[in-house]
Amino acid sequence: MSDVGGELSLYLHLPFCDRRCPYCHFTCFVNRDAALPLRYVRALAAEFALWRRRFSAPIATVYLGGGTPTALDPPAREYLSRWLAEELAGELAPQAEITLEVNPESAWPETLEPWVEAGVNRLSLGIQSMDEDVLAFLGRLNTPDSNRRALALAARLVDDLSVDFILATPGSSLRSMEESLHLVEEFAITHVSAYLLEIHEDTRFGRDVRAHRWSPLPADEQARRYLRAVELLQGWGFEAYELSNFAREGRSSRHNQAYWSGGSYLGLGISAHSHDAGTRWWNLDDAEQWIEMVRSGRPGVAGREELSEEQKREEELLLRLRTREGLDAEGQEHNRALWERWIESGLALQEGRRLRLSPAGWLVMDEIVLRLLRSS
């Protein structure tokens, strides 16, 4: 692993939740061990210190995600925010973007302000929906009321305010989605992540669907919702800079872009993934094992892979096509016929030397990528 210079992004995984969401496949858990969170965040700081010897570039973005970072108990929160303010601050690039993931039900002045004081300048709120039924279906603890309250608080604390929506839950209406999205107009929101609901196998939703307790919305309806969401957001001045991410001018997430542009990023904490110059590695997913390993003076890495040139090309295609930036047309000459057909039918666009997908093209991106790979 090498420090390629440039900038580094940092992801801190805080796996603790008050309740497990039935669709979530991330490594997180409802913690019963009062002493664990503090030991965990100490290990986060320690793991960073271990890596810092090898990765010395200035840190351009930090993302505190989870889990529910805002559900950390006070001692752990105090430790980590102090570390952020006192230790990490000196390592940051100028204008570093520091995001905290926030669950509305745990957004209170006492849970958010310490983070902002410690340097967090961007809040990402897991609103998901403004429809009570949808929130109940998703097993969320937040409500339309707590959403509003959290947004009002967050808007007061930071300029960069992002919200997450989950689109196309079964049983929900198009109208309910439109009303939820209207929140963007109501508050000073600068960034939106709007995801079509994904069903992962090893989640409760996955089991429900396998057991035929309910079905996802038909693909055509999902497509319709997504395109409508894009249309609304664009109408309000948001640009779709990635297929699920929308920002007002200049407010796209730099942290996210590191993932899609092959940037270097360090993931700290259990199950966190890292990447540097074609090498990917990931951490242990058991908290105790990971803490133990970090304590013994080694980063808690579980596995790594070195990408072949072909794999690098595949990843680049896969990731770049997700973004508005798209691909360099010159590299796609051999696929000219495919692209022309896609452009003609509205799945893709060419702007100058860039080829990119339209929202309709993004919706079928997996198929498009396979076609491109097949012909190359």
Partner: protein
């Protein structure tokens, strides 16, 4: 009764042992086979006979012993001839040699039966004690009579509670005109009556009549390929003798070989110093090509040739054709090698390279029938580990062009444009169906649907009717047998043989995807069926084609006229909404897997066709 009595010859071992009876007086030899309708217990009876004659050690005994291929064991069918030699001491105290030739039971393998019969003097005609005389019983009987064999009628499965030995005896008496006492009653399962049957074999089957001093004449009734000993001919010596080192000549094919080894059959091949008139055994030629020894040919000695070949032989011709294509085009060479290897032991299999715009490079393979095709396909997939697409099987059509030129069409996609054609004709078979009388109406209905013409209808007894039809083979090969079984609740039995080519109003039905014809989906059908079949095909394809980036128009057309259509809507959503740190590796791995899956898709124009689409066409209602 004790059917496990110990004969005077001790059980023999066949690993490197020397047979006690090397030369046998001709009048102590009995050559016979077992013929039966499918599932009437032929293989089980063979098992019991092997046990009783101690031709197989108890520890080696298992069910369906002679059926050595996995497929034979699994499906409970016999595909290849399995000769075996046994020593038997009869009640009169004399030692005899039995050569039993187990023959295939399925209608596809008629030619094998025919050759095996030609190697025998007698046959056991086995009839199920419950089911009674069935279509193949009758047809096999006719074959046996053509070969002038002594016929020993046997009722099997008398141990079953539903057994009706008296009724069935009467059926047999009516059929062959024997005395009721001549009909043996056995249970191959329990062994009851089998010992008595062996005594009857001695008594009723005539000894072989050949002349050991005459020039060699040996009938090749099967062959096998061995990597070390080359092509091995299974033969029945009719006249003369043959030994290792002899130079032999194939009377039909003209090839000359030196005999590397002679021997006889147990479960394995046991070398002996020579084979003489009346004996059944094998001869290794060392020849490395399947064409070195043609089944049905007669072997003679090069320096002292016989003047006439052994008669009674009909060459097997493929009746059903299908294109076999590797799913992954890299497997083409391997498919070719595998087909060549299979052909070494299956002379009825033919194949020629062909190219399909949709499927790439493959082979047009010829088979005796659908079962034969299934078996070859299964063996290629199991024994040679190949993934295949087999196109809809078809028969060989004949076409006379307006120019007078005649064409044989084994692949529907090469059928000429209608305006060039003077006449088309298709093969008809003579089919015999035996059913209980209450199903006569049902059989008439489905045979009519298949364009069958009734030739005759005859009551075999008060209950059962034999219906004879002329039916286009093309109508039979798809799923007629399954249909027949289902409309007669399993009671019908079917047998058929090729009859003749008849002129027919045939058209080529093409399938077009977004305007591009998919050659591998073209079929030749009777004009009266084109519309229904086209509709069914379109419907099925709509089910099977995955949605793609663009809508797919599916059309069925005869000539330039579209007769049916359907549409697969464009794919609207196939994407992973979230892709951050940890998702990236997962996503790429998924993509790599999908990429492999894509390789298995065939592409026509811009449309990708999954292999299932080609396979499921086989199941479309006609």
């Amino acid at each position: 009764m004790d059917f496990r009595r110990v004969p005077s010859i001790p059980p023999l071992r066949w690993d490197g042992f020397l047979c006690r009876v090397v030369t046998m007086q001709q009048d102590r030899i009995r050559n016979f086979c077992i013929i039966a309708h499918i599932d009437h217990g032929k293989s089980t009876l063979a098992d019991r006979i092997l046990e009783l004659t101690h031709a197989v050690a108890a520890k080696d005994m298992r069910a369906q012993l002679l059926d050595s291929m996995d497929i034979e064991q699994e499906r409970g069918i016999t595909i290849k001839s399995h000769p075996v030699r046994m020593e038997y001491t009869a009640a009169d105290g004399e030692d005899y040699i039995f050569h039993l030739i187990d023959t295939p039971g399925h209608v596809d393998f008629h030619h094998e039966v025919s050759r095996s019969l030609a190697a025998c003097e007698g046959c056991l005609l086995v009839v199920d004690a419950v089911q009674g005389v069935q279509a193949q019983t009758i047809n096999n009987l006719y074959l046996a009579l053509e070969h002038d064999l002594a016929i020993l009628p046997v009722i099997n499965k008398i141990d079953l509670p539903a057994a009706r030995p008296d009724v069935i005896t009467q059926q047999i008496v009516d059929l062959i005109g024997c005395d009721p006492e001549e009909v043996s009653r056995v249970s191959a399962k329990t062994g009851e009556g089998v010992a008595e049957l062996l005594e009857k074999v001695v008594e009723m089957v005539p000894p072989p009549a050949g002349d050991r001093q005459a020039p060699l004449r040996a009938l090749v009734f099967d062959s096998q390929f061995d990597a070390y000993r080359g092509t091995i001919a299974y033969l029945r010596v009719v006249d003369g003798r043959v030994r290792k080192g002899d130079t032999i000549r194939m009377m039909g094919g003209g090839q000359v070989h030196e005999v590397m080894e002679t021997g006889f059959f147990r479960l394995r091949q046991i070398p002996t110093d020579r084979l003489e008139a009346g004996m059944v055994g094998y001869l290794a030629t060392g020849a490395k090509s399947v064409s070195a020894v043609q089944m049905g040919d007669t072997i003679t000695l090069d320096e002292r040739p016989a003047s006439d070949p052994v008669l009674g032989y009909v060459e097997a011709k493929p009746m059903v054709f299908s294109g076999f294509y590797p799913i992954v085009s890299d497997d083409y060479e391997e498919l070719k090698d595998s087909l060549e290897k299979l052909q070494l032991n299956d002379a009825a299999l033919t194949f020629e390279p062909e190219t399909s715009a949709a499927l790439g490079f493959g082979f047009r393979c010829g088979f005796l029938g659908l079962l034969h095709m299934e078996i070859v396909q299964e063996r290629l997939e199991r024994e040679y580990n190949l993934d295949l697409i087999a196109t809809l099987p078809n028969v060989e059509y004949r076409c006379v062009l307006k120019t007078g030129e005649e064409l044989e069409i084994e692949n529907p996609s090469i059928m000429p444009e209608p305006q060039l054609i003077e006449t088309m004709s298709e093969p008809y078979v003579r089919a015999s169906i035996i059913v209980p009388k209450e199903f006569v109406g049902a059989v008439m209905k489905i045979t009519q649907e298949r364009r069958g013409e009734q030739i005759s209808m005859e009551y075999l007894d008060a209950e059962r009717v034999e219906m004879r039809y002329a039916i286009p083979l093309g109508e039979l090969v798809v799923d007629f047998y399954d249909k027949l079984k289902s409309v007669t609740r399993g009671y019908a039995s079917l047998d058929y043989e090729f009859w003749e080519y008849r002129p027919s109003d045939l058209v080529k039905l093409d399938i077009l995807l977004n305007g591009d014809p998919v050659d591998a989906l073209s079929v030749i059908v009777h004009r009266s069926k084109a519309y229904e079949f086209g509709k069914a095909l379109c419907r099925k394809l709509k089910e099977l084609l995955p949605r793609q980036l663009f809508a797919i128009a599916i059309q069925a057309a005869v000539g330039s006229r579209v007769i049916a259509r359907s549409t697969v809507k464009a794919l609207r959503k196939n994407v992973t909404a979230k892709c951050y740190g940890g998702d990236i590796s997962r996503k790429r791995k998924l993509l790599e897997k999908q990429k492999e899956g894509k390789k298995r898709m065939k592409q026509v124009g811009s449309v990708e066709i999954p292999q299932e689409a080609f396979l499921a066409i086989l199941k479309v209602e006609r």
